[in-house]
Amino acid sequence: MIINVFDLSKWYGQVIAVNNLTFSVDPGVTGFLGPNGAGKTTLMRMLIGQLKPSQGTITIDGETIWNNHMLMRRIGYCPEQDAFWQYLTGRDFVHALVRLQGFSSDQAMEKAEAAIRLVNMEKDQDRKIGSYSKGMRQRIKLAQAIAHDPDILFLDEPLNGLDPMGRHQMMQLIKELGNQGKIVVVSSHILHEVEAMTDTILLINHGRLLAQGTIYEIRKLIDSHPLQVTIRCQQVDRLTALLMAFEDVLSVHFNREKSQVTVETNQPELFHQRLPKLAIDENLKITSLWSPDENLDAIFDYLVGG
């Protein structure tokens, strides 16, 4: 099971929304990451066959998606818009949409109720959607997307409006769906959200694909961009002196009160190989080590020139 996108573009008159994208998506969770207006939603809508590409192709297991309604049996979609038939109850909404997947009323009800349980909406399922909070609406949208057990899920900003607990639950659910072998494509403009769900990302900005891969792979692409590493060590003075001797270390920021030192290196792999040896040889007690740079915020800022 694979989604292949080749040379994909979408333009509206003179405006290019998506520009020459080529990539593939494998099972597991994949994050589409980019600021608002980057072209994520247009891309998502082309992937689910709502918009026709101006150029290029999208295939799911070799089949084109545009006007291919049979392929929709395998797809679940959670749109970004806060859009509903407000006069329906949550249960009726999910049930009706599962019915349209071709299930009998009883089967659809069974599946709808199971999905509603998964998103923790049992208590409010018989209330009209018009009376739901933003978080509840988000959950019920997700329920309709997963209720018919699709192989492929497209979730457009699925965590918008959820409270921290809700976010955590939905992130766990999305990760679980990815672990089950489904293709789960999640779009977001919030970096840590995507980072918490997957390390496979596509960075999109101005309709172009800036980078694709795991966070670490993408980080490696930016080899000219120095990596910051913060080390907390009981012998911080001594460690600082030793680190300053390394050629790849460009700068050192030393904080005695916190017993930590932040170094900037232009050869991260070499640095990470050398540090454990140094600690053993010099009997340094390193209590923690992290890279404030090696997260999506830093990579994204760097790639978009922020």
Binding site: P79, F84, L88, L97
Partner: protein, 261 residues
Amino acid sequence: MLSLFQFFMKCFLRSKRMLWLVLLGLVPVFYVFLVYLLKPIVLSDDFLICGVFPKLAFSMYLHFLLPLMSVFIGTSVIMDEVESATLPYLLVRPIPRWQIAFAKTLVGEVLLAIILCGSLFISYGLMSLDGEMIDICSISTLMSAVFVLAIGCFAYVPLFSFLGGLIKKPVLSGLLFTFGWEKIVGSLPGSLRFTTLITYLNSMFPFKEKGEASGVFSLLRATATILTTWKAIFVLIGLMLIFHWLTTSLLSWKEYAYEEE
């Protein structure tokens, strides 16, 4: 297809719009009640309320409520799903797109026919309480009027359904069409009036508009082709099929934008 039909029926029946449309459809019934209430005060004793029925059926039902309610129901078929951004939920189902447009248009037609024909039946029943309605309008004549109203629903709704999917602000355009083009051109003598739906419905309706054309209009009207009922039915069914085809084709190929990115 059946599940789509049931879904749209549920949506229509639970929407506030439908409540307003039912109330609008019942306006003639309220009017009859009002006449009953006012009769002892302002009308003479020998005035028969049932005598108003032909005029009510022709002016109120055929020329006012049918086109007006068709505009509201027809334009909402695609426009509502686009404006409320619920169309994506439907388009990601394993259903051919044309079936979505067809099912919703059909539900709109059926519901409008039920409201209008039901209202006409109630008005007939109420007016029958005040005299020999059978002398003015027999049951078979009533059934003819009901048939024309129903076929009018099935002709007008897909037209406005197509308009609703094609353009922005379709309600205004629809109202201009029904109460502008249809009224003006439909009342003109000559062949141009055959470009209006109302001409075909008028020709079948059992209660005709009274009054003579005069001057140049009488000459023009005299040269106009006289429509037979079968010819009118054939044309209306043809138009209904064409507008259904256009609406379903539109949803199959048109891309809808829901908001600016």
